[in-house]
């Protein structure tokens, strides 16, 4: 079986936060305690959406030591493939769902003397759990959180209220910007910087920190990659001896699963490396979108990450 272990949960609260973001609370169906986890972990939520099974990863935002419930926040993506819309439109209090055990691909580096968090929009969620975790041990942290407007600033008020000296909020519509270079220059030795948000923000923080000669080990990031829709394409699976059609709104991984192929995965977001697949033959172009393979591997045409990457062309034969 692919993916992490599963947990049967019941939705016990659905809380709209603002025009875009809704929070969901999950408790174990059998009333047992949920596993503790480490800040930065995500869970993969299974959605039975008509005939389609959607599996979307969401960062756990609740206190990792609170075993009574997990919470996640879902931002509605009207242009996306429907996972977030399903959560917003279909999921109701009392529903039973299946989620995965926590998996952490964005954990704190516990050697850090100080943790500097930089969040953009819904990228705030993993930091909420990390802040809970650090607060248990009087950890040294500081948050810089940029959001579109006060109305859309999920958790901005709560954070400013509970941690006024550690929280800095920036509103785009008020032309407030994180003074990143200055901020990085002023950090004590042994600080680690963590960034979660849109791709542009991650690239900006990474390149600025590198330019400031921060060691690569001290820069951490997690990007929320959702598979993007694209032109349908055909692939041949050499081991299972099947030719399958990948539809416009499904990923290659989802298409294989739909056809009963038990392909490995964990994050479903191009980050963990678990789904890495060998390309046996191809004629055409890859649309690589993952963060796992490096540029050379992308160019080589030897590997693909089916959770987020696609293909355009005549033939694609995979080792599955």
């Amino acid at each position: 079986m692919s993916g992490a272990e599963k947990i049967q949960v019941k939705v016990t609260e659905v809380t709209p936060l603002n025009a875009l973001v809704t929070r969901f609370r999950f408790e174990a169906v059998d009333g047992s305690l949920l596993p503790t986890f480490s800040g930065g972990a995500h869970t993969v939520v299974e959605m039975q959406d008509g005939g389609i099974t959607r599996l979307n990863p969401y960062s756990l935002m609740s206190d990792p030591y609170d075993q009574s419930a997990y919470t996640i926040s879902v931002r509605r993506d009207d242009a996306g493939r429907g996972g977030s819309l399903f959560m917003h439109n279909q999921v109701k209090t009392g529903d039973e769902m299946v989620i995965s055990y926590p998996v952490n691909l964005f954990s704190l580096d516990l050697r850090a003397r100080k943790h500097l968090f930089i969040a953009g929009g819904i990228g705030i969620t993993p930091f909420l759990a990390q802040i809970h975790q650090l607060e248990h041990f009087n950890g040294h942290w500081e948050l810089h959180y940029s959001c579109r407007s006060e109305a859309l600033g999920s958790y901005a008020d709560e954070l400013s209220h509970s941690h006024p000296n550690k929280t800095h909020i920036y509103y785009d519509d008020q032309d407030q910007r994180i003074g990143l270079q200055h901020l990085l220059e002023g950090q004590p030795l042994g600080t680690h910087v963590y960034v979660c948000g849109p791709k542009g923000m991650i690239d900006w923080v990474k390149s600025t920190a590198e330019a400031e000669s921060w060691p690569a080990d001290n820069i951490h990031y997690e990007e929320f990659l959702a598979p993007q829709p694209g032109k349908p394409f055909q692939v041949k699976l050499a081991i299972s001896n099947k030719t399958i059609e990948v539809g416009e709104h499904e990923s290659l991984l989802e298409a294989m699963e739909r056809e009963g192929v038990d392909a490995p995965y964990l994050c479903r977001g191009g980050a963990c490396g678990q789904c890495e697949t060998r390309v046996i033959d191809y004629q055409g172009n890859f649309i690589h979108r993952d963060h796992w393979l490096d540029d050379n591997e992308h160019a080589s045409g030897e590997k693909i990450m089916p959770c987020v990457s696609r293909f355009e062309g005549k033939t694609l034969v995979l080792d599955h």
């Binding site: 480490s38 055990y101 998996v103 952490n104 954990s107 050697r111 690569a216 963990c272």
Partner: protein, 355 residues
Amino acid sequence: MTIQFNDESFRGDYTFRNSDWAIQRFPFPFHEDSYMYSVNMEQHRGGPKGSVYEQRFDVDEHYVSEMKDRALVLDQDPLRCQSLPHMTLAGWDLLELIMVSKSEDYPDLFELNRDGNRWRWVNKPLRIDHTFTFLDETTLPYGPMEYITRQAQGDFAILDQRDDMLWMDAGMVTTQADWSLDFDIGMNFFEWHAPVPKAHEMGIFVRALKFLLNIQQGAPARRLNWTMTVNPLLDTSPENYHKWGIQKTELTPENIGRKQHLRVELQTFFRLPRSNALVFPIRCYLCAFEDLMTVPKWGRRLHRVIRDLPDELATYKGFIDNRPLMLDYLSKFDDGLPTSLGIWPDRETEPPLQK
């Protein structure tokens, strides 16, 4: 079942013995008549009743004496237990994992009562009854990892996971098969595996690392490894080679059955939830050749495996010089009959020795 704990030594007069129960459940590591180095991982989710696979942390008749031996080693060499400062949370993770597992798996021996962070831990075999505050080090006599691993058989390496790499950043290592925590502490996965022969060529370690990095909460894994030890000596550390290395020269045709032990490591791997570190318990089981020979299938098979093992592996495992002596002894227990697949003794179905 209630376990009768042995009072025995793993040094000096070597009074260590396996009961018939312990022999029957010995994790014989060869599932066929030959051996090839491989990663051979499987899920660690129980196993046949009474086997060493059944529980998350196996407790057997050697528990109390092994813990005494550990205390002796630590007295002489406190560096056998080390934890880099950032690994304290992982130590609490391990303490929680072991206490919860043992109290659930052996309720007659261990009890854990939790009231928020106020925990009461009762370890009947070691006569410990301790109330402490979870996550507060000042309420324990040692750091959390040291505290709990003074009460758990086997060595423990705790590996921090950073940047798709594992780092040996904490451990309790007193029963090791010739490796040194003090030497390996702070090293990454490739650095601490450096002496294994041929493995890099096989790409085995790259795959093993990938496998370990992906071990997730709730899905522990396990494998067996093995070597040979003369005398039931737990502490075969490089630090003490000058003391135990010499014992390898003391084997004779008369004493080999009693003195030569097959040493098997049950290695398990658990993702630790709070720290996201990985713990790697390495549990050592020893069995004298003469005890192994009471199981006809194991007698036949051990002879064939040792006979056909490539020289470099026999050298790596440290018994190339004694191999002729071993084969003389073992060949008496091999009548050439076929053996059943798998590691289990199959006493009911395998024929007795035909010579």
